[in-house]
């Protein structure tokens, strides 16, 4: 039936094997996109006519910010699936997401601050976009703190899943903050319904970076997921073959 693939994904041995097989594909295509994107962003793209070379921070800032939101959404959706259908590997996916998301939220905040200093004259402002992104960082930290404070895995899964699901309201707030309120932060120039407002030599490296970071997230998640599954399965017999060196 159409649903069998979904049920198979819920099986730890199947998912472990799938993750192990897929990881190199995602990792190498991510590396390729990120190398090409960085090269294009630093060498091929022209300096911005208003911001000069400072605008090149966009090639690390925007994809990191995109990661911060995409990873959180992935985490919240898997946490919700885990809560509703009681699928254990779903909680494992959510738990594997958090450190990746937190680290790239930090990158988005710091690179944004470095960019903002010359453009706005300040490293930090309690601006809607900046503040909501900082809240996202604390949501990740809260999620990880809550997990590590509960010894029982099942209880940790459920409690942290509730936090992840409630916190997801912040995601659209971050995304729309620059259009809903007066913000220092510029409006989106790529993630918009109309055509992007950038020449191709600037845009293509940026799109490569978005793609590369997304693929990198998939690779990192698959590696962490394998570790999560092994820890959660304790002494399941299928693991004998999987961990045989």
């Amino acid at each position: 039936m159409a649903w069998t693939w979904f049920h198979r994904l819920g099986s730890p041995p199947y998912l472990y094997g799938l993750a192990a097989r897929l990881t190199p594909w995602f990792a190498w295509s991510a590396a390729l996109c990120i190398f090409a994107g960085t090269y294009g962003g630093l060498f091929l793209a022209p300096a911005d006519y208003q911001q000069g070379d400072d605008f090149r921070i966009i090639y690390v800032h925007a994809p990191s910010a995109w990661m911060s939101l995409m990873v959180y959404t992935t985490m919240a959706v898997s946490a919700a699936v885990g809560l509703i259908w009681r699928i254990k590997v779903s909680h494992a996916v959510a738990a594997a997401c958090a450190p990746i998301g937190a680290s790239f939220t930090l990158v988005a905040l710091v690179t944004g601050s470095l960019w903002g200093y010359r453009m706005w004259g300040t490293y930090w402002e309690w601006d809607p976009r900046l503040t909501s992104e900082l809240i996202l960082f604390f949501l990740y930290l809260g999620y990880m703190g809550l997990r590590s404070s509960i010894d029982d895995t099942q209880r940790a899964d459920r409690a942290s899943a509730v936090l992840a699901v409630v916190g997801v309201v912040n995601v659209p707030i971050i995304h729309f903050s620059v259009t809903w309120w007066n913000s220092l932060h510029q409006a989106p120039s790529v993630m918009q319904l109309a055509a992007p407002t950038m020449p191709a030599s600037m845009l293509i490296p940026l799109l490569l970076m978005f793609l590369g970071f997304t693929l990198m997230f998939a690779a990192l998640l698959l590696v962490r997921l394998q570790a999560e599954i092994l820890t959660r399965e304790r002494t399941a017999n299928w693991m004998r073959e999987a961990v045989a060196s």
Binding site: W115, R224, Q226
Partner: protein, 54 residues
């Protein structure tokens, strides 16, 4: 080359931004791999202990 490193006067902002991003990517890769190899070792140890009991 020095003109490139100079980044039109924005070197002090552009390069730290790229440096931090690279550092976080490397940390993510190293940490995830270490996590997996450690959990494989621990699983192997648990399985060996259970094997002896049985």
């Amino acid at each position: 080359m020095s003109e490139f490193l100079h980044m039109g006067g924005y070197a002090a902002y552009v390069w730290p931004a790229y440096g931090l991003t690279l550092a976080v990517i490397v940390w993510n890769i190293v940490y995830a791999r270490r996590l997996l190899s450690r959990s494989r070792e621990e699983a192997r140890r648990r399985l060996a202990m259970r094997g002896e009991e049985a």
